[in-house]
């Protein structure tokens, strides 16, 4: 799995690519969780660009759950954007769209997390 990071204003956009499963979940988590806490400390938000994610297993969903909890406790914001159809279906079934905010486009997500609460 590849992870690329870029910035859009006060938002960090992290784009994983490939499958987020048992094999790659730890790598994803080790990158994502510190990113959220440091972003929150700097008053910034995190958007996950999922356009490159082909599949997410329950191990991957667990990372998103941890990310959501981390965001909640550190006062940060996190959103997911650009889900592929299969990943979108997984989000629908698992109701993870209720755990993290899902957006169609990355820009929508950036705008949403940047908006004052």
């Amino acid at each position: 799995m590849e992870l690329t990071e870029r910035r859009a204003g006060k938002t960090v956009v992290l784009a994983p690519a490939g499958r987020i499963d048992m094999a790659t979940a730890d790598q994803f988590r080790e990158r994502l969780i510190p990113l959220i806490s440091s972003a929150a400390a700097g008053g910034e938000s995190v958007v996950l660009d999922f356009s490159g994610v082909d599949y997410i297993s329950s191990a991957g969903l667990r990372v998103l759950m941890l990310a959501a909890k981390e965001a909640r406790s550190s006062g940060g914001k996190i959103a997911v954007a650009a889900l592929q159809p299969l990943v979108n279906e997984i989000f629908q079934i698992s109701r993870f769209d209720k755990v993290v905010a899902c957006h169609v486009g990355v820009n929508d997500a950036v705008a949403a997390v940047s908006a004052p609460a």
Binding site: S58, A59, L61
Partner: protein, 705 residues
């Protein structure tokens, strides 16, 4: 008291093995190489002299010197001469005549490999003495004749004769030093013969030169002869060199030395020497053309100009006289031929040498090869490293032979060969010991791991039995409740799994069915599954509440103690057995599929919320549906819908729905349908191992009453 399990004694590495194998034997190799190189530098005779000398001898056997000149001719007292002239020793007047005959042929010098230490017994005055009583007249007549020794002394005086002198190791002095030698310069580092054997002063004093006749065999083999030594207190050249001196009419010779003899100079001739004053003779084959029979010379039957300008060397060759020596080539040569070969060596500049740098060069060559072996042997296969050893052997042998053949330099291949061979053997042994050590450690570790694995397997097997025992069986429930029909199966990807299902009757003629899936797999998931299942059952029974209440309660309870941050997807359905009314709540699980008798399928995906433990205080919502008799509810875990075939394609919910909607299966019993679904999934997977736990639960309501 707990004690660590016993380790097998064989697995404990013995200290010496560990030391031998340390650095895969490289430290040991370096130590040994340094030691061996130091030993190689020990001066003559040094280590393993026999091997070295044997190698030098073989050079000469394979490639003897090719004789290019004939500066010396041997006047041989051979068997023919003994037959014709009479038994040896000959009367000295005969020898005097022989010298006269030789001198008449005008040789450059006449070297006599003969000693005349006692007066001649056959001299006339001696015979006169013996005949005195028997025939005084004849005795008087004889007494008038000149003594043979005088005749010999006279002949010697007239010719350029070099007389043999023998250095001996006993402190006796047969014939005092000539006193004719003057030494200029300091004491020289020459070999000292404590005693000397010379001819009678009468004869000895008449010779123009005196040369050593010592050949000094080493263990019976003549390789190098002293070319200059102290004999009876005087420095003396060997017979061959002294002959050159007399032939060239040079009055003196120089010995140049600095920490050992470097060379001997006689006029224009420079003869290189070893440090101890010896020289290695480069032997050629025995050559009869070097010889002329003494008898022929005496009779004037020799080739007239054979001796002219040459060094005539007189010596005995008759086999009975036993002056035979074995040379480096293994050939038996008369002593005089060895002196003649030395003359040729000096004349042709063909002497062999073992220069002072030979030992350091050999030691360096060994060290270089040793370094290569130390680097390679431990890390390459034995066949490869043996090839390297062979290359070392060949290189040393060829280099030694080439130095001999083209440089007349004696380099020793045997010490480096012996060194690398010992080193190779040791390195190989150390490598093998190291490998053996590794193997033992590995097998010990493997045994421990197997033991541990067996224990874990045993425990997992027990855990599996417990987990499977926690799941309700169809028969136990249906015995008392005839209004539902069920099919349930669970298959864990590992020994134990994180899937769960449950079904039991509730008060008020309701029936609860639930399926769940803990995130993760194996033992942690199984433990969390057990807790989830127990909580769900107690929540359902205690409160007698709807599925949303159940979810909310279980979510709260589970979230409270969840150190591993796991989550559970769960779907619970409550069927009113009287009416077929269905209330359900789905916490992030695969939605149930309601299969109507007509074949139509409905996805029950309303309400619900995220998986349990994800959001602690999530308000789960219920949704409703209505069952017709013989409708079938299909609940699966994602292990089913995400079952993969070999190409990585997922089975998918649509395939499942298509299967359920197929007219063939319309109105089929849940048990039959369940088995068909399992078979279809297995066929799809086509033998690839399921990656996830798989759970399938089918329920049908048979209608009220």
């Amino acid at each position: 008291m707990a004690s660590p399990p016993d380790r097998p004694a064989a697995a404990a590495p013995v200290a010496w093995r560990r030391w031998l194998a340390s650095g895969r034997g490289r430290w040991l190799g370096i130590l040994l190489s340094a030691l061996f190189a130091a030993v190689m530098l020990i001066p003559d005779p040094g280590p393993l002299p026999a091997m070295r000398l044997a190698a030098f001898d073989y050079y000469q056997v394979w490639l003897p010197r090719v004789r290019q000149s004939a500066p010396a001719v041997i006047v041989a007292v051979d068997d023919e001469s003994l037959t014709r002239v009479g038994q040896w020793p000959w009367p000295r007047d005969v020898i005097a005549r022989l010298i006269d005959r030789i001198a008449a042929r005008q040789p450059a010098a006449i070297a006599l490999d003969l000693l005349f230490t006692e007066p001649d017994r056959s001299s006339p005055e001696r015979i006169a003495l013996a005949l005195r009583k028997r025939d005084p007249a004849a005795a008087d007549q004889l007494a008038k004749l000149r003594p043979n020794d005088e005749l010999l002394a006279e002949s010697i005086r007239r010719a350029p004769v070099v007389l043999g002198v023998a250095g001996i190791e006993q402190p006796i002095d047969r014939g005092a030093s000539s006193g004719a030698v003057t030494v200029v310069g300091p004491e020289m580092p020459l070999y000292r013969y404590t005693g000397v054997l010379r001819s009678l002063p009468l004869i000895d004093s008449e010779a123009r030169g005196h040369g050593m006749i010592n050949a000094e065999p080493e263990r019976g083999i003549v390789r190098r002869v002293p070319i200059v030594a102290y004999v009876g207190g005087e420095p003396m050249l060997t017979l061959a060199l002294e002959s050159f001196r007399i032939a060239a009419s040079v009055r003196s010779f120089n010995v140049s030395h600095e920490r050992g003899v470097a060379h001997v100079q006689i006029g224009d001739i420079v003869v290189p020497a070893q440090a101890d004053g010896r020289a290695w003779i480069h032997f050629s084959k025995h050559d009869p053309s070097r010889f002329v029979s003494a008898a022929d010379v005496l009779d004037g039957r020799d080739v007239p100009d054979l001796l002219e300008g040459k060094i005539a060397m007189v010596g005995v060759t008759a086999l009975a006289l036993l002056d035979q020596h074995t040379t480096a080539r293994g050939e038996q040569l008369p002593g005089i031929e060895i002196h003649a070969q030395l003359v040729e060596n000096v004349f042709e500049g063909a002497l062999l040498s073992r220069p002072p740098w030979a030992r350091p060069v050999e030691a360096l060559a060994f060290l270089f090869a040793a370094a290569v072996l130390i680097m390679t042997v431990p890390s390459v296969r034995p066949r490869r490293s043996f090839t390297i050893l062979l290359v070392c052997w060949l290189t040393f042998a060829l280099a030694g032979f080439a130095a001999y053949a083209w440089g007349r330099t004696l380099l020793d291949p045997t010490a480096p060969i012996a060194g690398v061979t010992v080193l190779y053997g040791l390195m190989l042994a150390a490598t093998l010991v190291g490998l053996d050590l590794q193997r033992r450690q590995l097998s010990a570790r493997l045994a421990t791991e197997r033991e541990a694995a067996a224990r874990v397997t045993g425990e997992l097997e027990a855990a599996r039995r417990i987990q499977m025992g926690m799941l309700p069986t169809r028969d136990s429930v249906l015995k008392t409740e005839r209004r539902v029909e069920l099919f349930a199966m669970m298959s864990a990807a590992r020994e134990v799994g994180g899937d769960l299902y449950d079904f039991f009757p509730l008060p008020d003629e309701r029936f609860l069915v639930l399926v769940g899936d803990v995130s993760g797999k194996g033992l942690p998931a199984a433990m969390f599954m057990a807790v989830s299942k127990a909580l769900a059952k107690s929540a359902a029974m205690r409160r007698n509440a709807g599925p949303a209440d159940l979810m909310t309660t279980v979510n709260e309870e589970l979230s409270r103690e969840n150190p591993e941050q796991m989550f559970v997807t769960m779907v619970a359905l409550v069927i009113d057995l009287k009416t077929g009314d269905l209330v359900y709540c789905n916490a992030g699980h695969e939605p149930p599929i309601l299969t109507r008798r007509s074949g139509e399928t409905v996805l029950l995906d309303d309400g619900g919320g995220p998986p349990l433990c994800v959001i602690e205080d999530y308000p789960y919502e219920e949704a409703r549906a209505r069952l017709e008799p013989r409708d079938v509810l299909v609940l699966a875990s994602d292990g089913f819908t995400e079952a993969m075939n070999r190409t990585g394609a997922l089975y998918g919910r649509e395939r499942l729905r298509a299967l359920l909607e197929s007219p063939v299966r319309r109105g089929v019993d849940p048990t039959v349908l369940g088995h068909e679904i399992v078979a279809a999934i297995k066929a799809f997977e086509a033998g690839s191992e399921p990656a996830d736990d798989q759970t399938l639960l089918l329920v049908s309501w048979r209608g009220g009453i």
